[in-house]
């Protein structure tokens, strides 16, 4: 009886953990990997682009002026071929932008997204 109780407690804890992990908002790096790298990874026909491909000024210009016109007709192969600009919510886009700028080529911590 006691062991059944323990199994129940552990099971609940696992379920709570899974639920919490699912609720945890993805950070900019994860979002970049999920939504950008699928088309802009190494050897991609669309060209590899990582945060350190551009300087901060270029990223700011890109998000302000170029993202929408250049991705208007792009479908996301990782998400049922839905339009990428519908798949990425404004909140997600904000995080992706912050990640790209924080790790731009002229930042203190330039990086790829792994």
């Amino acid at each position: 009886m006691k062991s059944l109780l323990w199994i129940g407690v552990v099971g609940c804890l696992v379920l709570v953990g899974v639920a919490m992990a699912a609720d945890k908002p993805a950070d900019g790096r994860e979002l970049y990997k999920e939504y950008c790298k699928s088309c802009h990874g190494p050897n991609s026909p669309h060209g590899e682009v990582t945060p350190m491909s551009l300087i901060v000024e270029q990223w700011e210009r890109f998000f302000a002026e170029k993202l929408e016109p250049s991705h208007r007709s792009v479908l996301d192969p990782k998400h049922d071929n839905r339009p990428v600009l519908e798949v990425i919510t404004p909140e997600m886009l904000k995080k992706i932008k912050e990640f790209a700028i924080e790790h731009a080529a002229d930042s203190e911590h330039p990086m790829t997204c792994g």
């Binding site: 802009h40 050897n43 991609s44 026909p45 669309h46 060209g47 590899e48 682009v49 350190m52 491909s53 551009l54 300087i55 901060v56 000024e57 270029q58 210009r61 890109f62 002026e65 170029k66 250049s70 080529a105 002229d106 930042s107 203190e108 330039p110």
Partner: protein
């Protein structure tokens, strides 16, 4: 490479709008249009390039007037053996991956302001073209290691495939900032603050209680405000460094332009300044943000699963209380190709401050005392370097020691044994405001931090003076 470069250029061109006239104004905006490597800088700065070429920051060696056994020769990290990553030669440049294919090391040249060639003593067009001016002078410049088509390695700007971005960064020329200095000087020895202990990335972020000189709400100084010299020569020499580029302009707190020789309002404190260095009281501890390497045992490999990387067994410590020793501005060094000498403690002195109580030029200074275990060649008793790059990946220590011996001395299949070493490293940064400095009882009490006998006294000299004043023995 070319097709990939084209692909990237197309991607960038598609990503970026053409916005002529909106480019930001940088210091070198008007001097050139496109950055084409060091040649662009040399068009106007050939003299500066020559002065840098001859500097310690490029040569990694210099005259050794302050090394009592230097023998008039030039030494520096390029041609000696140290107790951190041991030697530059066998580990200059190249990519070392772990078993997962991740880069774990790129060589010592990562922190050399050159594009990958080993510095040579003689000036040549190739050596001048090897200087990477942007590394110290361009804000926002970053570089990485790339393999050339001939199989060799070189450092290139990470923006080498993005000419517009590179042009922008290359025009942001200025005096080196604390941030650019710390990129190498705080990251040496294998990780943040591993080597020096008192030079941490945190100095640019913390308030004046962390470092009263460098904090923005303190004096707000940059490294070059104190260390700036002329012709790319730098003022100041740490006690465990070989070179002194500007012996005619020594750097000290008591410089008349800074604090003078009697900076205290309490005369009893001014009485100390003749024999006690300012740093001894004003740097109570170091390694206040990141722990520092205090012991590096190369005889015992350690595996780090998270990084999938091998290293020596390193003992780190934080908030370290310095050790104190007399220092007259000169140092005895353990030189390569010279039989090791053991001190009374049985340790080989890698860098030992000179001077004692009877030396009028000596003062009591604070030090980081770094201990290590290093290989020596049986018979000759020469210190051996370790080819650390391969060892980081494989953990094969014996092979790495033998490769180091062969590359450094030409000795094949070296027989070696292990010795314990000690290095005294001057502590001069992380100075706290006056109210945080040591008080009288920190030294003059039964539990004081000074080892009076080690300093050449019978006991606390204040106690002796008071006894004498009161007629007691």
């Amino acid at each position: 490479m070319v097709p990939r470069l084209h692909l990237f250029a197309v991607a960038v061109a598609l990503l970026l709008p053409s916005l002529p006239g909106q480019a930001r104004e940088y210091t070198h905006q008007k001097y050139f249009e496109h950055y084409e490597g060091t040649a662009t800088c040399l068009q106007c700065h050939a003299e500066e390039a020559r002065s840098f070429f001859h500097s310690q920051h490029y040569q990694w060696r210099s005259a050794t007037a302050k090394i009592v056994n230097g023998g008039g020769k030039e030494f520096g990290k390029i041609n000696v053996i140290n107790d951190f990553c041991t030697a530059v030669g066998p580990s200059w440049i190249g990519l070392t991956n772990n078993s997962r294919g991740e880069a774990i090391s790129k060589g010592c040249s990562k922190c050399h302001a050159g594009l990958g060639r080993l510095p040579e003593p003689g000036e040549s067009p190739e050596q001048l073209a090897n200087i990477d001016c942007l590394m110290c002078h361009a804000a926002g410049y970053n570089r990485d290691l790339y393999q050339r088509t001939d199989g060799g390695w070189e450092w290139r700007p990470v923006l080498w495939k993005n000419p517009e971005g590179l042009d922008s960064v290359a025009k942001r020329i200025g005096r080196p900032t604390t941030t650019s200095c710390l990129r190498c000087h705080a990251g040496s020895g294998g990780g943040p603050n591993f080597k020096r202990g008192d030079l941490e990335y945190a100095v640019t972020e913390r308030d004046r209680t962390f470092d009263v000189h460098l904090a923005k709400d303190g004096a707000g100084l940059d490294c070059l405000d104190c260390h700036g010299g002329s012709d790319h020569k730098v003022r100041g020499r740490g006690a465990d460094l070989f070179g002194d580029e500007m012996p005619d302009r020594p750097l000290g707190c008591d410089d008349a332009a800074c604090h003078g020789s009697a900076p205290h309002t309490v005369e009893a404190l001014n009485l100390h300044t003749a024999r006690v260095a300012c740093q001894s009281c004003h740097i109570p501890t170091f390694a206040k943000a990141d722990p520092t390497d205090m012991v590096r045992d190369w005889s015992t490999p350690a595996y780090h699963q998270e990084q999938d990387k091998w290293s020596a067994t390193i003992t780190m410590a934080k908030d370290v209380v310095p050790v104190y020793a007399w220092y007259n501005g000169t140092t005895r060094a353990q030189l390569p190709g010279v039989a090791v000498t053991r001190g009374r403690d049985g340790r080989v002195g890698m860098m030992l401050p000179q001077g004692d109580r009877s030396d009028p030029r000596a003062k009591i200074y604070p030090f980081k005392r770094h201990l290590a275990k290093m290989p020596v060649l049986v018979g000759k008793n020469w210190l051996l370097p370790i080819a650390v790059e391969e060892f980081f990946a494989s953990g094969q220590l014996d092979a790495a020691v033998k490769k180091g011996a062969e590359e450094f001395y030409g000795v094949k299949d070296a027989a070696y044994e292990w010795v314990e070493t000690v290095r005294y490293m001057g502590i001069s940064h992380e100075v706290v405001p006056a109210r945080g400095a040591l008080g009288c009882l920190d030294c003059h009490s039964p539990k004081g931090r000074l080892d009076w006998q080690a300093l050449g006294y019978r006991g606390d000299p204040l106690v002796a003076a008071m006894r004498a004043a009161h007629g007691k023995r």
